[in-house]
C-alpha cells in the first residue's frame, strides 16, 4: 500500500509524535507499505527532499508561507503537492495530527482522490472555540476524512463534541511503546531528582513544577529538578527559576536525543507532568516504560495512562499546592513510589504495546480502503522501491 502522510513536524524534529511516527512507519515498511511524508520545512537548513529509514520526506516552507501571507509561495507549495500526489499515487492519505499543513492536503484533494484518515493527538479546547465554525480548517478536515482516530478517549470525546458528524466514523487508537529500551534502574532516593520532559511551552505547565519545587527545596536540600526540552517558554522558565532562588537546584538540559531518554528516565526518581493540555502523554508512557512513577494533572488523556494511586498520583490542573504535596508524598514513601513505577510498566506492556499499535494502524488503513469500496486485493502487493 502506498501511504502519503501529512505531519506538521517530522524527523529530525524531536517530539513525541515525531519519534513515534518514525517507529510506526519503519514497522509498516516491513509489512510492505511504501510511505512518503509531507511536512513543514521549519528549518531552512533541511533539504526539501530527503529520507529516513526508507521513508521519503518532502518538506515545504508552509509555516513561513502562511504566517507571511505569501501568496506566491502558497501557490508554489500547492503546485508541488499536486505534482507529488499525481506522481506518488497514494492509496490512502493520513493526516497524522492536525495543523496548518492540512490546508494543503484539503485544498489539493482533487489532484488525486483517495480515502483519508485523520489522527488527533491532543485536546483542542484551549485553542478551538467549542462552537466550531463551518469554515474552520479543523472542522472541514475532519468532515472530509473517511475516518478519525484519536490517541485517547478524552481526545475522541472532545472531537465528537466539536464535530458531531464524525460520531460513527471515529475511534481511539492508543499510542504504542517500544520496549527495546534498556531495563529500568531502581529509583534513586539517595540523590532524588524530579524530571520534567517535553517542549517548553505554556501548555506543559513547567512553571507550576518550578513553583511546586520551590516549596519543597527548603525541606529537601539535596533535591534536584531537571527540565529537559526546549521551546518558546525556556527563557521565561529560566527567569522564574532565578526569581524563585532555584538556580543552583534546577537544571535546564535543552533538547535530549530520543536515544538518550531511557537513560535520562533512569536518572530520575519520579516524573512530573503539570500539563494544561494533553492528548495521550508520550512522556507518561516513556516514564511507565522505565518504571518511573508520575505525578500529573487530570487533563486530556493523562488519566488513561496514569492511574491515580496505582501507577502515579493525579492532581487538578494548575493546583500548585496539590502538586507539591503529591511530589513530597512519593519522595518520602519509596516503597509506594517503586510499586507505582513497576505497576506502570506492567500496565504499559499490556495496554500500550508497540506491536498492538502497529497492528491497529495496519488494520485501520485496510478497513478504510474496504469501506471506501477499494479492495486490498486491487492494491499492488510489491510496490516499486523509491528511487
Amino acid at each position: 500500500m502506498r501511504l502519503l502522510v501529512w505531519q506538521e513536524q517530522f524527523w529530525p524534529q524531536i517530539g513525541g509524535i515525531e519519534v513515534l511516527a518514525t517507529k510506526l512507519f519503519s514497522s509498516l515498511r516491513q509489512r510492505g507499505y511504501e510511505i512518503s511524508v509531507v511536512t513543514r520545512q521549519d528549518r531552512l537548513d533541511l533539504p526539501k527532499q530527503g529520507q529516513y529509514q526508507g521513508v521519503a520526506i518532502y518538506r515545504y516552507p508552509i509555516w513561513a508561507a502562511i504566517t507571511r501571507r505569501d501568496i506566491d509561495q502558497i501557490v508554489e507549495i500547492r503546485r508541488h503537492i499536486k505534482e507529488l500526489k499525481r506522481a506518488f499515487q497514494p492509496d490512502l492519505i493520513h493526516n497524522n495530527g492536525l495543523g496548518p499543513s492540512a490546508l494543503f492536503q484539503l485544498d489539493t484533494v482533487d489532484a488525486h482522490v483517495v480515502p483519508s484518515l485523520v489522527t488527533l493527538h491532543t485536546t483542542l479546547k484551549s485553542v478551538i472555540p467549542m462552537r466550531v465554525r463551518q469554515d474552520a480548517l479543523f472542522k472541514r478536515t475532519l468532515l472530509a476524512a473517511n475516518w478519525v482516530t484519536c490517541v485517547s478517549t478524552a481526545v475522541l470525546d472532545e472531537a465528537r463534541q466539536l464535530v458531531p458528524e464524525i460520531r460513527l466514523r471515529s475511534s481511539v487508537t492508543y499510542n504504542g511503546l517500544d520496549f527495546s529500551a534498556p531495563p529500568p534502574a531502581p529509583l534513586p532516593f539517595n540523590v532524588p531528582r524530579i524530571l520534567c520532559l517535553g517542549r517548553l511551552i505554556r501548555d506543559k505547565g513547567f512553571d507550576l513544577a518550578l513553583r511546586a519545587f520551590a516549596s519543597l527545596a527548603d525541606h529537601m536540600p539535596g533535591l534536584r529538578l531537571v527540565i529537559a526540552g526546549d521551546g518558546p517558554a525556556r527563557s521565561s522558565l529560566e527567569d522564574l527559576a532565578v526569581e524563585l532562588g532555584l538556580q543552583d537546584s534546577v537544571e535546564f538540559l535543552g533538547w535530549v536525543s530520543p536515544d538518550n531518554v531511557p537513560a535520562l528516565m533512569n536518572s530520575a526518581t519520579l516524573v512530573v507532568m503539570p500539563s494544561r493540555r494533553e492528548g495521550l502523554p508520550g512522556v507518561a508512557l516513556e516514564a511507565a516504560l522505565m518504571a518511573r512513577p508520575v505525578v500529573a494533572t487530570t487533563v486530556g488523556g493523562v488519566p488513561e495512562v496514569v492511574l491515580h494511586h496505582k501507577t502515579g498520583l493525579l492532581v487538578a490542573q494548575d493546583d500548585q499546592e496539590a502538586l507539591a504535596e503529591a511530589i513530597l508524598f512519593l519522595l518520602t514513601h519509596p516503597a509506594t513510589a517503586t510499586a507505582f513505577g513497576q505497576a506502570a510498566r506492567r500496565r504499559a506492556q499490556e495496554v500500550f504495546s508497540f506491536e498492538r499499535y502497529v497492528d491497529a494502524y495496519d488494520a485501520l488503513y485496510q478497513r478504510i480502503l474496504v469501506r471506501s469500496g477499494r479492495s486490498p486485493k486491487n492494491l499492488r502487493v510489491n510496490p516499486p522501491a523509491l528511487t
Binding site: 524531536i14 537548513d45 530527503g50 501571507r69 490546508l103 480548517l137 533538547w255 535530549v256 536525543s257
Partner: protein
C-alpha cells in the same frame, strides 16, 4: 444594491490573489484568512479580476459551463454577495473591462457545479498549536546501526 451592469474588482490593497490552473487562491492580508475557489468559482474570480460586469460574467459562465441563465445569474449574485461580505472585492468605477485576451472557451461546455468559496478562518489557532521548535540543529537522533540521509 448591485445591478447587472455593475463592474467589480478585487480590493488590491487588502487582498493577495492568484489564479493557477483555474483555481483562485486568495488571502486577506489584514487578517490572514485564506480562501480558495475552483471550477466555476475560479472562473468568476478571473472575470472579476478583469473588471467584467455581472452581466458579462453571467454570459461568459453560460458559454463555458452547461448552466441555465437563471441558475448562472443566481449563483453569480450569491457568490458576489459573499465576496463583498468577506471584503475581498469592491465596486469598480471603470467603464469597461481590463484590456487583454479573453479567457479561452473549452471546445464543449463543461459540467457545472455550484461555485463555492472555501474559507479557512482558524489558521491562527492552528498555527498556535504547533509552532516551530528551536535549537535542534545539534541534536543527533539515529537508531543504532542506521545511517540517516537527507539531513
Amino acid at each position: 444594491m448591485l445591478t447587472l451592469s455593475q463592474r467589480l474588482q478585487p480590493r488590491e490593497q487588502e487582498v493577495a490573489a492568484k489564479v493557477m490552473d483555474g483555481e483562485a487562491i486568495i488571502i486577506n492580508l489584514a487578517n490572514g484568512v485564506y480562501y480558495s475557489m475552483d471550477k466555476a468559482g475560479g472562473f468568476i474570480w478571473e472575470m472579476i479580476q478583469r473588471k467584467h460586469s455581472l452581466e458579462e460574467t453571467v454570459t461568459a459562465l453560460m458559454a463555458r459551463y452547461d448552466v441555465s441563465r437563471e441558475q448562472a445569474q443566481k449563483d453569480v449574485e450569491q457568490l458576489v454577495d459573499e465576496l463583498l461580505r468577506e471584503n475581498l472585492i469592491s465596486a469598480s468605477d471603470d467603464q469597461s473591462p481590463v484590456a487583454g485576451d479573453p479567457l479561452p472557451d473549452p471546445p464543449e461546455r463543461l459540467p457545472y457545479e455550484l461555485p463555492t468559496l472555501n474559507i479557512y478562518q482558524d489558521m491562527g489557532d492552528l498555527l498556535a498549536l504547533d509552532p516551530p521548535t528551536p535549537g535542534l540543529e545539534d541534536i543527533s537522533w539515529t537508531d543504532p546501526g542506521e545511517t540517516p540521509s537527507g539531513a
